[in-house]
Amino acid sequence: MSTAFTPVSHKMSARDVSVAYGDNQAVKNVSIDIDMDKVTAFIGPSGCGKSTFLRTLNRMNDTIPSARVTGEILLDGENIYSADMDVVQLRARVGMVFQKPNPFPKSIFENVAYGPRIHGLATSRADLEAIVERSLKRAGLWEEVKDRLSDSGTALSGGQQQRLCIARAIAVDPEVILMDEPASALDPIATAKIEELIHELRGRYAIVIVTHNMQQAARVSQRTAFFHLGQLVEYGETDNIFTAPRQERTKDYITGRYG
C-alpha cells in the first residue's frame, strides 16, 4: 500500500519493491515516499524486513550476493536500480549509519576526512580541515574531540563513536541519511544525545531511521512506517500511527500485543 503526502515531488519513492535472499522473500511489494526535512521511522518486530528495505535505499544489499531486488526506487525521479546509475555516486548522496558504531581504525580526523578524500570534495588541506570541523560540529562531537583529532576513532566511547560515524556520513554532504537502529547498542544517555542530534539534522537532510524502540520512533520522527512479515502495513504521520492506527496489526504492535 502507499500513502501520498502533500509535496508532489518526493525525495525518494519506492514502487513495488521486493527483496529476496535466495528463496526467502524478506520484503514484499513495498511502496513508500520519503521527503526532505522529515524524519521517517521504520518500526516493526525483528525480522519484519525493515532493515533489509532500508538497505535497498542506497543499494547496500548489493554487497550480499544472494540478495535480489525487484521494483523501482526513485531518487529525485531517477531509478537507482537502473543500469546507468553510479552506485558510488548514489551512496555519496544517500549516506548510512549502522547499528553498531563502525569507525575505521584511523584517527578521528581521518575518519571524517575519509569521504571527502575519496570523492575529491576538498581542494586544499585547509578546505578539508574546514569540512571535518563543520561535520564534527553538526554531529555535536566537536567540543569533545577538537583537541585530540589525531587520536584513534576506535578509542572513543560507544556514543561518541556513533556520532563520529554520523559526522563521517555528513562529511560528504548527502541528501538522505539512513540510520539502521543507530542507538540500539548505546546506553540511555548516549541514546538521548543521538536523538537530539537527529532533531538538529532534520532541517538539512531527509532522514530514515530504523528502530525497534517505539518510544524512540514517537520522539524523533514525523512519519512512521510499520512493517510486519515483509509487508508495509501502515504508513502515516507519526502522531496518527501512535494515537489512531487504522490497521488492526499496527494497533496490536504499538500496544505491545506482540513484538
Partner: protein, 458 residues
C-alpha cells in the same frame, strides 16, 4: 629381552594391576559398609598408572644413561687397553664391535673390533638385564603400593585426573624441551668453534673460504658476512619481492572479489603449493628457472653469466612462500569486521578504495606478522639453494650474480669428509646457531604482533 617386548610385559602387568585393583574395590563395594568414593574402574586406572608409569620412566632414563655406563665398563676392562685414545676412532671401533656382537658374520671390520666383540656383547646384555630387572621390580612394587591404598574413601578419581593432567603436560613439554635441547647442543658446539675463531671475525669478517683455512688464523677465512648477505638477499629481498605482492594480491582477490565457487577451488589449490616438497622446487629452480635466468643475463650482455644466480633461487623460493603470505593475509583480512567494509562502501567508496584505504590498513599487523614468518621460513630454506644457488660467497647487489646462503654452506661443510673438531666443521654449528637465533627472534616478533592485533578487535 628387547625394549619392545619389555614394554609389552609392563603393559600386561598394568592390565593385571587394573583388574586386581578393580576387583578389590568391588569387594569393598559389596561389603556395603560404606559407599566407595570413586568408581571401581577408577581404582583400576589408578593402580594401572602406578604399575606402568614408574617402570616406563625408569626405562626412558636408563636407555639414556646405560650406553655411557656400558662404555665406561668396557674401557675399564684390560682387553680394551689397545683402543686408541682418540675419541672418534675409539667410538668407531666400539661401534663395529657392537655390530659384530649382534651379527657375528658382519664383514669388513677392524680386527680389534672382532676381538672386543664378545666383551661388548656381554657387557651390553648385562646392563640390559639389569634394566629389565629393575623395571619389573618397580612395576611390582609400585603396583602393590597402589593396590594397598584402595579404601572406600580413597579418592582414586582425583588421582587419575591429576595423573592425566601430568601426562598431558609432559606431552606438551616435549616439543619445548626439544627446542631447548637443539639450542643447547648448537650453543655447545658453537662455543667450541669460538674457541678456535674469535666471534668478531666470524660475525663481521667479509671473507668466506672454508676450503682453504690458514691453521694459524682460521678466522681470516671464516667471516660469515657474505653468507648473511646472501641469505638476506635471496630470502628476504628477492623471495619477498615475489611473495609479498603476489601473496597479498591473491589474498585480496580471494577474500574480496572471488565468488564462493571460485574461492572453493582456488584456495586449496594455492595451499597445495605449500605442500610441494622443497626438493621439487629445487629441481624446478636448478633445471628450468636457472638456465632461463642465465639466458636472460646473456641477453643483457653478460656472456659469462653464472647459471647459479641468486635470482633463480630467490624467485623460486618466493613462489614457494606465496601460500604462507597469502594464507596469513587471508586470515587477517577475513578478521576485519564486515562492518568496516560496509561502512566504507556506504560512504560511496569503491571496492578497491575500501580495500586499499580501510581493509589492508586494518589487517596490516596480521600481514606484517605473516611476512615475518615467511621471511623466517625463507632464510631457513635449504633445498632450493642447495640445488640452485652457488657456493661462491660474494657480496653483491646484482641478482644475476651468484650468491650463497647460510643453509647452503652448512650443508657443504657437513657433507663429505668431515673431521668433527676442525674449525671448518664447527663453523657449521655457529652458522646454525646464528640462523636459529634470527628465525627465533623473527617468530617471537611476529607472534607478538599477531597477539596485539587480535586484542584490538576483541
Amino acid at each position: 629381552m628387547n625394549g619392545f617386548a619389555l614394554c609389552f610385559v609392563i603393559l600386561g602387568l598394568g592390565l593385571i594391576g587394573w583388574l586386581t585393583a578393580r576387583a578389590r574395590a568391588l569387594r569393598f563395594d559389596r561389603g556395603g559398609r560404606k559407599r566407595l568414593h570413586s568408581l571401581p574402574a577408577q581404582h583400576g586406572w589408578y593402580a594401572a598408572a602406578w604399575t606402568v608409569l614408574p617402570p616406563l620412566l625408569f626405562l626412558a632414563v636408563w636407555s639414556a644413561i646405560s650406553p655411557g655406563m656400558v662404555r665406561q665398563t668396557i674401557l675399564r676392562n684390560p682387553a680394551a687397553a689397545q683402543l686408541s685414545d682418540f675419541a672418534f676412532e675409539r667410538d668407531s671401533v666400539l661401534a663395529q664391535a657392537r655390530a659384530v656382537a649382534e651379527n657375528p658374520y658382519a664383514g669388513d671390520v677392524d680386527p680389534l673390533a672382532r676381538r672386543l666383540a664378545p666383551l661388548v656383547g656381554a657387557t651390553r646384555s648385562r646392563y640390559a638385564w639389569i634394566g629389565t630387572l629393575v623395571a619389573a621390580l618397580l612395576a611390582f612394587a609400585a603396583g602393590a603400593y597402589a593396590i594397598t591404598r584402595i579404601r572406600p574413601d580413597f579418592r582414586a578419581r582425583s588421582q587419575v585426573e591429576r595423573t592425566l593432567m601430568m601426562t598431558l603436560l609432559v606431552a606438551s613439554l616435549i616439543a619445548i624441551l626439544t627446542t631447548l635441547g637443539i639450542f643447547v647442543s648448537l650453543f655447545w658446539e658453537s662455543l667450541r668453534f669460538f674457541g678456535h675463531v674469535p666471534i668478531t671475525d666470524f660475525l663481521f669478517g667479509t671473507h668466506w673460504s672454508p676450503q682453504v683455512i690458514d691453521a694459524k688464523d682460521p678466522g681470516a677465512s671464516l667471516g660469515a658476512v657474505p653468507l648473511f648477505w646472501g641469505t638476506f638477499f635471496i630470502g628476504a629481498v628477492i623471495a619477498m619481492l615475489v611473495a609479498i605482492p603476489f601473496g597479498l594480491m591473491s589474498a585480496v582477490y580471494l577474500t574480496q572479489y572471488a565468488s564462493p565457487t571460485t574461492r572453493r577451488w582456488m584456495k586449496p589449490t594455492l595451499e597445495m603449493l605449500a605442500g610441494v616438497p622443497t626438493v621439487v622446487y629445487g629441481y624446478f629452480a636448478a633445471l628450468t628457472v636457472a638456465p632461463a635466468m642465465r639466458q636472460f643475463a646473456v641477453l643483457l650482455g653478460d656472456p659469462y653469466a653464472s647459471s647459479e644466480s641468486a635470482l633463480a633461487a630467490g624467485l623460486v623460493m618466493g613462489v614457494m612462500i606465496i601460500p604462507f603470505v597469502s594464507s596469513m593475509a587471508d586470515d587477517s583480512l577475513a578478521a576485519v569486521p564486515t562492518a568496516m567494509r560496509d561502512g566504507s562502501l556506504a560512504m560511496g567508496a569503491t571496492t578497491s578504495e575500501t580495500i586499499s584505504k580501510v581493509l589492508v590498513p586494518a589487517a596490516l599487523p596480521g600481514v606484517v606478522a605473516g611476512v615475518l614468518l615467511a621471511v623466517s621460513r625463507a632464510i631457513g630454506e635449504t633445498m632450493i639453494v642447495v640445488m640452485a644457488a652457488s657456493g661462491a660467497a660474494t657480496i653483491t647487489l646484482n641478482p644475476l650474480e651468484s650468491a650463497t646462503t647460510v643453509t647452503k654452506q652448512i650443508v657443504d661443510l657437513l657433507t663429505g669428509e668431515a673431521e668433527f673438531d676442525s674449525p671448518k666443521t664447527l663453523a657449521a654449528f655457529a652458522l646454525g646457531l646464528t640462523l636459529f637465533v634470527i628465525t627465533l627472534l623473527l617468530n617471537i616478533v611476529a607472534l607478538r604482533v599477531v597477539k596485539k592485533y587480535r586484542e584490538a578487535y576483541e
